[in-house]
Amino acid sequence: MSRFLLRRLAFLLLTLLITSIIVFAVTQLLPGDVARIILGREAGEQALEQLRQKLGLNDPPFVQYGRWLWNFMRGDWGDSFSTRMPIRAVVLQRLRNSLMLAGTIVALALPLALTAGVIAGLNRDRPVDNLISIASLSVVGLPEFVTGLVLIEVLSFKLHILPANSSIPVQASFFEALPMLILPALTATLVLLAYIARLTRAGVIEELKQPYVRTAVLKGLSWTTVTFRHVLRNALLPTITVIAISFGWLISGLIVVENVFNYPGLGRLLVFAIDRRDLPLLQAITMITVLGYALSNLGADLIYAALNPRIRLG
């Protein structure tokens, strides 16, 4: 177990390193003069040059990267190139928001998708199964700004039950924010729904084939006992891990949702950073994201191992 954790930690560090290099490398290739993008098209050469000096943009790339890495490891995330704000505070603030949203999404998506998937799986190839897969699939290809649009029209403007906008106040507590979290969460859920539901369905169908189900039934156990105690326990394993993994994506992958509802999450900050060539900001966000992804992966494995006696970590 401890060996397992050790190895994972090593991999995590490796991943962080690789991704930070990837991101840094690509940003070097990005067109656009960083200084010019920061100071705007009206700034004069001298000003630009001064800024480049200040930000060390004239140093060779590996020096820049090295400097960043060194500082970052020492916990100094630096100031934003563009807004000059201390990055750490900004990113952590946004991370907090993103976590709140991600949490809500999981809380919504999990029961919804599982129920749908289980029902579909238990009624394989029956109308209800087809209905569920068609319904959930129809929204997969639709970008969040369409589903979001519809949800807003209906839930906010027609029924007036939820706010159309989610720009939560700074430092809002989870419960203050909750009403504003639901719509974006619902929108993101629709994207995941089909994926998770289909996965669950597959899992259920797969397990139903297993001989042990027959054993259970022929014990004279009630339908519910068979389904919940025997089938689902095994059927849901893959689903749970997938959800845990997608948690990483939820943390900063929700760019569009955050835009549509103007939710102050990491995703929008990410776009901002790229737009503004705000390298240290971008790197910080990337690291956070990768960390989140890695941790949720780890979480997934642990949950899986916990629920599945056949798996031994190590």
Binding site: F11, L14, T15, I18, T19, I22, V23, V26, T27, L29, L30, P31, D125, D129, N130, S133, I134, L137, S138, V139, V140, G141, L142, P143, E144, F145, V146, L149, V191, A194, Y195, R198, G248, W249, S252, G253, I255, V256, N259, G267, L270, V271, I274, T286, T289, V290, Y293, A294
Partner: protein, 291 residues
């Protein structure tokens, strides 16, 4: 099979294809899916012939006109016929999301097969790298790449490929891992089959059913990705009739002309449903017929 000497030959493609289609049409769901896919494929082929208007043909006087006999799906802000654009979009979507997914599938499959079969440190390395890529949000990768390559159809293809190759590779790899322990692979190795042959003739077919489903799902998300990129103002260039882009553009004036948004959106929903249902059917048939 005319000459006895030819007895090694498999049944002609045609017959197997018919059998497959027959199988697909036995189940209502996959029948529906297949029909939809066929429909859109035909549109992609003959779209330009049947579209009443050009993809960027603007009738200023008809701007924002609601659905009517002249414009079945109404017109958009610039007075372009939505119906025509949806039809012409079919080819566009296949060219973009379709080709992109295809590239990802080809790359992913090759890498996944090789990495899984070869195993060892190389496999470890490749998977590490892919994990790293996967741990970056798709849109981040997309934004960075598009920023670097400059917005264009080609760049979007690259993006889709880069974003989905690792995922496909993973799926295929897991199949490769399970198949490579099978007896018939030992047999192939004992016969001294070439690596390529082992990967693509011996292992690959077993991956097909899973791959079909994965690919269709990727295709769905590719459409989605293209649209999202459009939303962020990068990627496909106007006046492309890409449904994702149409939806994005129409969003700006949805309150004036909802049809301009809902018809392309509907098209997306339809093809996604179609492709996925068909893939389910394919998986079922492929496995049923061989395992």
């Amino acid at each position: 099979m005319i000459a006895a000497g030819n007895s090694g030959a498999a049944p002609p493609r045609g017959r197997r294809l018919n059998a497959l289609l027959a199988g697909l049409y036995r189940h209502s769901a996959s029948a529906l899916g297949t029909s939809i896919v066929v429909l859109f494929l035909t549109l992609a082929l003959i779209g330009p012939l049947i579209a009443p208007f050009g993809l960027n043909e603007q009738i200023a006087t008809d701007a924002l006109a609601p659905p009517s006999g002249k414009h079945l799906f109404g017109t958009d802000l610039l007075g372009r016929d939505v119906f025509s654009r949806v039809i012409l979009g079919a080819r566009q979507v296949l060219e973009l999301a379709g080709t992109g997914t295809l590239i990802a599938v080809l790359l992913g499959t090759s890498i996944g097969l090789f990495s899984g079969y070869r195993g060892g440190w190389l496999d470890e390395l490749v998977m590490r790298f892919f994990d790293s890529l996967l741990s970056l949000p798709a849109l981040l990768l997309a934004l960075l790449l598009l920023g670097t390559l400059g917005p264009s159809q080609r760049s979007v293809l690259v993006v889709i490929a880069v974003v989905y190759t690792p995922i496909v590779a993973r799926v295929v790899r897991s199949v490769a891992l399970s198949v490579k322990t099978k007896g018939f692979i030992d047999a192939a190795r004992l016969q001294g089959e070439s690596l390529g042959r082992i990967l693509f003739r011996e292992i690959f077919p077993s991956a097909l059913p899973t791959l079909a489903v994965e690919a269709s799902l990727r295709f769905s998300y590719a459409i989605f990705l293209v649209a999202s990129l459009g939303f962020l103002g990068i990627g496909v260039q106007p006046p492309s009739p890409d449904w994702g882009l149409m939806v994005k553009e129409a969003r700006a004036y949805v309150s004036q002309a909802p049809w301009a948004l809902y018809f392309p959106a509907g098209a997306i929903a339809m093809i996604v449903v179609g492709v996925n249902l068909m893939a389910d059917g394919l998986k079922r048939e492929l496995q049923a017929s061989r395992e």
